[in-house]
Amino acid sequence: MSTQPRPMPKVRSLACPNCGGTVEVRGLGRTLTVVCIQCLSVLDATTPSLQVIQQFRAKERFRPLIPLGVRGKLNGILYEVIGMQVRQMTADGVAYHWSEYVLFNPYRGFRYLTEYNGHWNVVSILQALPQAATRGIRPAALYMGATYRRFQGYQAATIYVMGEFPWRVQVGESVQCDDFIAPPRMLSREQTSDETVWSLGEYTPGAVIWQSFGLKGKPPIPAGVFANQPSPAGGQIGAAWKRFLVWLAVLIFIQFTAMLFHAGKTAFSQRYSFTQQTAGTHENSFVTDVFELSGRISDVEVKVNTDLDNNWAYFNLALINADTADAYDFSRQVSYYHGRDSDGTWTEGGSKASAVLPSIPAGRYYLRIEPEMDTAAARSTANSMRYQIQVIRDVTTWSFFFIGVVLLLIPPIWKTVRGGSFEQKRWAESDYSGGG
């Protein structure tokens, strides 16, 4: 395979009419103004003599991060860097400046690159007009089906120029800019008395620019959050919540399947009545008949259902294996109060209680029950109750389900919080920072 040497770009070298220095023109007849960097003159490239349009002063000689004359491919199109301007805006008395590079291809025209604090945007001029809109109470712009939210408005003044420009650039000139964002894209409107130009920027990592233009070293590390910088959480927040919903559906499915397979058989059910003796010596405990718990080792639920009304009762309970005498002790308090006060009716507690005993082997069991009510109360009628005891074998427990839901919630909530703080940093730089 033979490799042909790539032809060098045709550069016209002209003499600056002001200082005699060499001025290179790469823009092949599209260039309207060219800058003599030796004597800081803006020259009219359309006149054969390069008439001087302006001589400017610069506090600082800015150096482009991408040298003029360097070529690189963006979206498959080869461009040459032919110019750079530094622009400045002032917000709250602080001046910020950024760079804008002019990229040129003689067939496909111009593109621009903007760079601020290590944040890069590839910019093209729009031909279709975005539509004015509002999002909530803020102005927005609609373009190609996407809504761009207004970010900020400012005056951008050109403070330094070098190379070539396809318009009549002048140092000191300023335009009214308005930025609208839909990360990673940004719409910008630049207005002068003569025209309104809309452009579309696409946030591009410095590393991509470095690779495209074959630059040495590493791109500057971006500082802060830029207006249209895509959030690292970005699409991940939505994706995390979608994943959460998928796993929640799986969990619900498992839970309902478990409920289908868990028989929930009533192994024992009996009604009792109880009256508290005022003398405290009376033994209240008794045992039930023996009942059968069948199947594999699983849960047992003991339900207590009372007719308590503005009263309380305490149940000491034990599930005892009739053959091995293994006992599972537990207790439940039931209290139910209700009434009416200045705020209306109120209720507290309930007349039912339940206890789930995990991992009970099959076998013959009985319950020991010891109810207890208020002995101090002098009311003769109230300190008695009727109640029902039910033993249900093989119930479905919900605790694992709820623990699962909580664990599944952690990643989407974490991502939402992190994404929120990124958005806060982004909008802190906008006209809508709230606190100012």
């Binding site: 496909r108 025209g109 025209e195 309104t196």
Partner: protein, 211 residues
């Protein structure tokens, strides 16, 4: 299709027309601007040297727009306050006239249409004014005074004697494009759309050294 031909009244060179309804052309040898009067050609001026503006399109560049092949047969170069632009006069195989404009390598194709509503007069053509044509609504985005900087090839009108012309540029939300040309009365309306260089499949274009 037989092409009308004649001889340059200035140098006698044969002048052939690509476009049967061309009214004006330039002699490729002596650069005289020639206007067709019945069967004769009349010299009405001479082309000044073309300005340094460079378009990748040239006479006889061919391309395809909306499945119709076209060929560039003429051009007008305009200069205005913010720069220059080229209007390439193209003719399709079916003999229709199209205008391919190249304004700083921003390309648009348009054709002369009949206004469906009266066009504003030049005094009422201001930025932001709405213009309707058929179902489309446009906005005037700029009004420019242009000077005619050069011509070459065949044109459907006589453009040689115009000095300053007012143009209103029209745009809308869907990359359609229009121009109101106030150099005639009533004004002319051109409607079309912005196109990308690559979508036209151009052949016989100008080569740029190193590109």
């Amino acid at each position: 299709m037989s092409r009308p031909a004649g001889n340059c009244p200035n140098c006698g060179a044969p002048v052939e027309f690509q476009f049967s309804s061309a009214v004006q052309t330039t002699c490729p040898y002596c650069h005289s601007i020639l206007v067709r009067q019945d069967v004769d050609l009349k010299k009405v001026g001479e082309v000044a040297d073309l300005p340094p503006e460079i378009s990748p399109i040239q006479l006889l560049t061919e391309g395809i727009y909306k499945n119709k092949s076209f060929r560039a047969v003429g051009r007008i170069i305009y200069q205005y306050e913010l720069g220059y632009w080229n209007e390439w006069h193209c003719v399709t195989q079916q003999g229709e006239s199209l205008w391919l404009s190249d304004a700083m390598a921003e390309y648009a194709v348009s054709a002369l249409v009949k206004p469906t509503k009266p066009l504003p007069d030049p005094g009422n053509a201001y930025r932001g004014a709405r213009i309707e044509w058929n179902a489309a609504t446009f906005e005037i985005t700029s009004v420019n005074r242009a000077r005619y900087l050069g011509v070459e090839g065949e044109l459907p009108f006589e453009y040689w004697d115009k000095s300053e012309m007012v143009f209103a540029d029209l745009r809308n939300n869907s990359a359609q494009f229009g121009t109101i040309d106030y150099s005639e009365s009533p004004p002319l309306l051109f409607i079309g759309e912005f196109v990308s260089f690559d979508s036209l499949g151009l052949r016989n274009i100008r080569e740029f050294e190193g590109w």
